[in-house]
């Protein structure tokens, strides 16, 4: 083997290794838990199909900021501007972690303002979310024309909701598609914490028993493992590792709440073409556990917006 040929071969092998690594890294918004799937396969090979069957992608879906805000409103809660992250804080966020967390937080605040038709706040919070998205290099997630159209349709609640939903999808799809699942996860975590923070702050202890919003807060126990799994899929990223430590503190409090559900019975309604999933749930959260939960949530959320 001559020397030139040897070096060429080594470079080619290195390139192929790099190429396969690159392809492996670009798995989109999913965690490739087993092996990556190769498309160029020998023909007539049952084993190949068997391998494909083993391949698996897992999505851990947290409630979006829009859904979180909708849950708060549907529980009959009031709007309180003082609970939102002030837009004056936008210039404090210079790291990717802080910008990602606050993109989620500002999007949740924006959703909250939208649902309560706070017209000026809608524009202000869309601008704050834009600043975070721009800082993260998310191209065209929220452009000036989006804000202009929002101003033109500021009294059209349906248009506003669609815009909030679309801009959030633009952001998280950009991050997922550009090999930044950790940043995408942090955005979702920020939005989820903001929803939980606003909910816990809106509870008046005099009105604790039978409060619908307390029920929605207990429901978040169902998402804590999803949240941890979402973060665990980017474990090793220093920003994610820091958040995992904080979330584990919250999980300790959620573990104090009992939540038992009877078996789910699906019942199909032909008239509405909708299935009702029937089940009874038993929960218990004492005021003391709630106060502890609210304190931990506020502690973590305030560290995010600092």
């Amino acid at each position: 083997m001559n020397k030139k040929y040897g070096v060429g071969s080594v470079i080619l092998i290195l390139f192929l290794l790099f190429a396969s690594l690159l392809a492996g890294c670009r798995s989109g918004g999913t965690k490739a838990t087993k092996e990556d799937v190769k498309l160029d396969v020998p023909k007539d090979n049952a084993a190949v199909y068997e391998d494909i069957k083993k391949a698996e992608k897992i999505f851990n879906a947290l409630p979006s900021p829009l859904e979180s805000a909708m849950l708060i409103k549907s529980a009959g809660a009031r709007f309180d501007e003082a609970l939102l992250n002030p837009i004056g804080n936008v210039n404090n966020y210079v790291t990717s972690k802080k910008m990602a967390l606050n993109l989620g937080i500002y999007t949740c605040d924006l959703s909250f303002a939208s649902l309560y038709e706070q017209t000026q706040l809608i524009i202000d919070y869309m601008n704050a979310a834009k600043k975070m998205a721009d800082g993260l290099g998310i191209l065209k997630a929220i452009d000036q024309s989006t804000i202009d159209k929002l101003e033109e349709n500021i009294n059209n609640s349906e248009f506003i909701m669609e815009t909030v939903s679309e801009t959030f999808m633009n952001s998280n799809s950009y991050l997922e598609d550009n090999g930044q699942p950790a940043v995408a996860a942090i955005v979702l975590v920020g939005g989820w914490f903001e929803g939980l923070y606003i909910s816990t702050q809106l509870i008046d202890m005099k009105d604790f028993n039978g409060n619908k919003l307390v029920g929605r807060i207990i429901d978040q126990k169902l998402s804590i493992d999803i949240l941890i799994n979402l973060l665990e899929s980017s474990k090793g990223n220093p920003a994610v590792d820091e958040i995992i430590v904080q979330v584990n503190k919250l999980k300790i409090v959620f573990d104090k709440i009992k939540l038992t559900t009877s078996p789910v019975r699906p019942e199909f309604d032909k008239t509405s073409n909708t299935t009702m999933l029937k089940s009874e749930v038993k929960t218990d959260m004492t005021p003391e556990v709630f106060k502890e939960l609210a304190t931990v949530v506020a502690e973590i959320r305030n560290s995010f917006v600092k």
Binding site: S173, D177, S279
Partner: protein, 149 residues
């Protein structure tokens, strides 16, 4: 060292191909799957991936008793039908999109008496043509909601 000149071109080609595939997936999700949500408000989350014939994906999500939901699961035309099942936390199948005639529905509307964490198992079926390279394409999972009446 001609090979050294070729490598950057190959890297750019590879990057371009993968980014283009992902961008196509997003465009597919927005243009094809989003309209399937109809009158439901899209939650804004994005769940899409390139899947291969026979491949499965799982999704975990909490659904709330205050809401009515529509889930839309769409696969590109070049893929065979996409099957999906919804399971509760005890792994009981609550819904399958495959009807008695073997047809697969793209959407499912549901509401809950109490909030639940559910698991969606999505599987790209197979064309059953042994010997062919398995088809691959984008599969998108989207959720819409509205407040329960």
């Amino acid at each position: 060292m001609r090979i050294l000149r070729i490598i950057p071109i190959l890297v750019l080609f590879l990057l371009g191909t993968t980014i283009n595939a992902d961008a196509q997936c997003k465009a597919f999700a927005k243009k094809v799957c989003l309209p399937e949500l109809g009158a439901y408000t899209h939650d804004g989350n994005y769940h899409a991936a390139i899947l291969v014939e026979g491949e499965e994906a799982e999704l975990y999500k909490t659904f709330y008793s205050d809401m009515e939901y529509r889930v839309a699961i769409c696969g590109e035309d070049k893929l065979p039908s996409v099957e999906f099942k919804v399971l509760d936390s005890n792994k009981n199948v609550l819904y399958s999109n495959k009807d008695k005639d073997g047809k697969y529905s793209k959407t499912w509307d549901f509401k809950l008496q109490s909030s639940q964490q559910l698991k969606l198992v999505v599987k790209v079926t197979s064309f059953n043509q042994s010997g062919d390279t398995p088809a691959s394409g984008c599969v998108a999972i989207m959720f819409g909601f509205k407040v329960k009446k």
